[in-house]
């Protein structure tokens, strides 16, 4: 188990490295726009633009290794390269190289927009994002599992149909629509406003904090729960039909005990996978909620940074998102063993 964990964790740096390289290609190799034009303003001279490129380290080659060869395009999508006389060049001061060296020391650079420490900006925004994602995921898991079980237990009853309708509506109604309604409808009907902006930590003012976070978390959470709900229902139905549950019932165990200790435990593997998927859904959904309700979290940070092409921020948040995704998947995999002792990792 420990070895398995370590082996899985050892993939993490490789994945993060790959993600960082891909983001570099996406952000620094492919775009044709000159960043110096953008930040320098309209009347910047060539020298000023060069100064900007120097300042943000945009003059160095992007990657530490380049191959200079003769390439021509045979058809637009097929380059034909001759490696005759090609040179493999190494650049000690490449953009990626210096980013990586600093990143390994925990320094992700400064934002282009205001020269602030990226890591610091991220940490400041983290509590708001964390609370939103945490609450949303809690709602997702709560609704997903409880409604899923209920629906399976009361199969083909109005309750079951209700849950299934709820689940399909949750997948189909866009979050941004519900979040916009959250602003528009209470204001129209009761002059009530969902508070937006201004994060207040829960230990400072629990009431205000919950007014700020509960409604959007409910919307994002319910939208993220529908996949889980369907899956719990299907899996539970299969498990309930299985022999050992029938045996447990036959032994005279009470319904609730059967459901909770036998059936649910045996259905745990696919359900945990779905919880991982729900997390990803909630992670994306929280970005929309942060944007619409002006919650200063990392989702909004990512959104505004992509619009202003703040490269260090996008790079950092891409790597961060990758890390979160990988770790969540790992946790899900590991929890299989905890939930279902039949699963063994070696």
């Amino acid at each position: 188990m420990l070895r398995y964990t370590l082996r899985r964790l050892s993939f993490l740096p490789i994945i993060l490295l790959a993600v960082s390289i891909i983001t570099f290609v996406l952000l620094r190799v492919l775009p044709t726009e000159d960043f110096a034009d953008v930040i320098g303003g309209i009347n910047a001279t060539q020298e000023q633009k060069d100064a900007i490129r120097d300042k943000y380290g945009l003059r160095a080659p992007v990657f530490p290794v380049t191959v200079s060869g003769q390439c021509e395009r045979v058809v637009w999508y097929v380059p034909k390269c001759s490696l005759d006389g090609s040179v493999l060049e190494f650049h000690p001061h490449s953009q990626y190289g210096s980013w990586l060296i600093h990143a390994l020391r925990g320094d992700f650079g400064t934002t282009f927009n205001n020269n602030a420490d990226v890591r610091h900006e991220f940490v400041r925004r983290f509590p708001a994002s964390f609370e939103l994602v945490f609450l949303s995921l809690s709602f997702s898991v709560f609704f997903g599992i409880s409604f899923g079980i209920l629906s399976a237990m009361y199969r083909n009853t109005p309750l079951d149909y209700g849950v299934r309708i709820f689940a399909v509506l949750g997948t189909s109604i866009p979050e941004f629509f519900l979040l916009t309604l959250l602003i528009v409808i209470p204001s129209y009907l009761w002059n009530y406003a969902q508070p937006s902006g201004g994060y207040v930590p829960i230990y400072d003012d629990p009431m205000h904090n919950l007014r700020l976070f509960l409604p959007p978390a409910l919307i994002v959470g319910v939208a993220g729960s529908s996949g889980l709900m369907r899956l719990v229902r299907t899996t539970m139905l299969e498990v309930l039909r299985s022999d050992y549950v029938r045996t447990a019932r036959a032994k005279g165990l009470r319904g609730r005990t059967v459901i909770l200790s036998h059936a649910l435990r045996n259905a745990s593997t696919p359900i945990l996978t779905a919880v991982g998927t729900a997390f990803i859904a909630v992670f994306g959904g929280s970005l929309v909620a942060e944007r619409i309700l002006s919650i200063q979290g990392n989702g909004l940070f990512f959104f505004t940074s992509t619009l202003s092409r703040d490269l260090p921020v996008i790079q950092f948040l891409a790597v961060y998102t990758a890390a979160v995704v990988v770790i969540v998947n790992l946790v899900v995999d590991l929890s299989y063993a905890w939930a279902d002792p039949r699963v063994k990792y070696s």
């Binding site: 034009d37 009347n43 927009n113 205001n114 002059n191 201004g198 505004t304």
Partner: protein, 574 residues
């Protein structure tokens, strides 16, 4: 903008909301000064019977009759976009947004010229002399900086002012005609005296487009000017408000500076500002901000339109009062001076195709003014209504336009690219113009662009055929007229247009020190712009509507940017 003018309505339209970003970048001639940050409110609560007037009127009120002020209290207002940084001077033109915000609140200035009176008001300066047209000597009073490291509440010296001007000029090396072309030098004669020398007489030297800009004349302590890291995180000034806290530039808390300008000889009054502080909550979009105002979560709010103002007034009744103010920004259509727009008849025809009344109705439900070459905010310098050139400028006649286009041999089959930024207001005006031009058979293709890209790579480099946007009127008539000319200082116009009549007329106005003669020369310059159909066609300037709860007292509004220097607001929640 609320009563005290603290809700930055202009910036709400400019800033990063759903598809808006870095709004500060959108400044016309790149020379940036006091912008149309407007205060609007009314003191009277009797604005209820609102009848739609044919000619929109501006209800400017002042709160001086609210009785003796009760100091104290925190005002809650909204802010549409986080400040990208606390550094007012950099790193680029994009710092305009925080530069103005902080310039109006945290930083002090030597003097200021409100647009409505045109009279210089002394701020930190106790005396302002101009011994000859080329020299300005300012004597400053004994003020202190906010009590924050590294300034730690020390006295403001003339050398701080000089260093601040110089850093500004260095950080924003282009665009500021006055700082780079006209101002020869600025020196500290002693701790209390600042001397500015100019290389030529300049009629607008004191106004906010020049040495009196709320942005470039912000006074910062010398010792932080070489520390961009400190400047990015905290703003240390000597102004009325101390920056008490912010979350990444959002949710800014300002608190009263107790030792603000306590010396004789300034226009400030002891005890001001009356409020203990102002909290700016970040609310990016109009709908949640309006909802927050209706729910009483913010005390003042700038409406999007007159009907929104009227509806809120009728919903909340006596709890709020509303007022209005003429915006300082205006919309324009720019045509690149290239075929087919090199033909005067084509530009004239395009102007005839524009139905300004319809634009005003669709954009702001009728609450706006048609915009002549010089935006309506510069009231004193306007052409009279019956001026034949002005009448022709505002005429809308599709048939005549077609005749002119036919005479010019205009090719109706061409589809002209019409670039615009994705900022909602720009995109909306462009859509309306596209439809209006189509009624005359002119076909255009809208090309939306990311705001920063549009600004730096299309507008700024003149890389467009047509573009429409929300331009800034600034605080004196010189800059808006310069948009039409070429060859003055470092400034080029985006259209690549140059006409000797226009150039001469605009420069003549700036060099004229006598006011009466200058007003006439500004009018002549406008006539030259119209007669030559200079390729920037101005559309309209809107009227901003603001509301505030009645417990907000004492605000004075309707004074252009001056609203933000307003320190008379107080709260009476009893």
């Amino acid at each position: 903008m609320g009563d005290n003018g603290l809700d930055l309505r202009y910036w709400r339209s400019q800033q990063v909301t759903r598809r808006r970003l870095l709004g500060g970048a959108v400044v016309g001639g790149a020379t940036v000064a006091a912008i149309g940050i407007v205060g609007c409110s009314s003191k009277k609560s009797s604005v209820d019977a609102v009848t739609p007037a044919a000619q929109p009127t501006v209800v400017v009120q002042d709160g001086t009759q609210d009785g003796p002020a009760k100091p104290g209290g925190i005002l809650n207002v909204s802010l549409s976009s986080a400040l990208p940084s606390m550094n007012p001077f950099g790193p680029s033109i994009l710092s305009l947004y925080q530069g103005l915000f902080l310039g109006f609140t945290v930083f002090d200035h030597m003097w200021y010229v409100p647009t409505d009176t045109g009279l210089t008001e002394l701020f930190l300066a106790t005396k302002l002399e101009q011994p000859d047209p080329l020299t300005i000597i300012a004597t400053i009073g004994d003020a202190t900086f906010h009590d924050k490291a590294p300034a730690n509440g020390r006295v403001v010296k003339a050398s701080d002012i000089v260093a601040s001007y110089k850093l500004f000029a260095k950080q924003l090396p282009v665009g500021f005609d006055y700082l780079h072309d006209v101002m020869e030098d600025v020196v500290a004669v002693d701790d209390h005296t600042v001397k500015i020398t100019q290389n030529r007489p300049w009629a607008w030297a004191f106004t906010s487009s020049n040495a009196g800009s709320p942005w470039s004349s912000s006074i910062l302590p010398e010792e932080i000017l070489d520390k961009p890291d400190v400047m990015a995180k905290d703003a240390i000034g000597s102004g009325q408000w101390v920056l008490a806290g912010h979350e990444n530039g959002a949710n800014i808390k300002l608190r009263k500076f107790q030792k603000f300008r306590q010396f004789a000889g300034t226009t400030s009054i002891a005890g001001q500002p009356y409020l203990d502080g102002i909290d700016f909550k970040l609310i990016a979009d109009g709908a949640p901000a309006l909802a927050a105002f209706k729910a009483g979560q913010i005390d003042a709010y700038g409406f999007n339109s007159k009907s929104e103002s009227d509806d809120t007034k009728s919903a909340l009744g006596d709890k709020i009062s509303v007022g209005s103010d003429l915006a300082r920004d205006f919309f324009c259509l720019m045509l690149k001076y290239e075929p087919p727009f090199t033909d005067d008849r084509v530009r004239h025809a395009f102007n005839l195709l524009i139905d300004r009344d319809e634009i005003i109705q669709l954009m702001v439900e009728g609450s706006g003014l048609k915009c002549p070459p010089l935006p309506p905010a510069h009231k004193k310098y306007q052409l009279p209504d019956n001026d034949p050139d002005l009448k022709e400028y505002f005429r809308h006649d599709i048939a005549d336009a077609k005749k002119l286009l036919d005479a010019a041999g205009f090719d109706y089959n061409q589809v002209i690219d019409f670039k615009h930024s994705v900022r909602p207001s720009d995109a909306q005006v462009s859509q309306i113009l596209q439809q209006q031009l189509q009624r005359g058979g002119v076909q255009t293709k809208l090309v939306p662009e990311d705001l920063v890209k549009w600004f730096s790579q299309s507008l700024g480099t003149g890389n467009f055929h047509m573009t429409a946007f929300d331009h800034l009127a600034y605080e004196d008539p010189d800059l808006p007229l310069r948009f039409f000319m070429a060859g003055g200082g470092s400034q080029k116009n985006f259209m690549g247009y140059s006409n000797d009549d226009v150039n001469k007329a605009v420069l003549a106005a700036a060099g004229e020190l006598d006011e009466t003669a200058r007003i006439e020369k500004v009018r002549q310059a406008q006539k030259a712009v119209i007669q030559n159909w200079a390729p920037m066609l101005n559309l309209y300037a809107q009227i901003n509507y603001g509301g505030r709860y009645n417990y907000v007292k004492g605000s004075i509004t309707g004074r252009g940017s001056y609203g933000l220097f307003n320190r008379t607001t107080w709260l009476d929640r009893s």
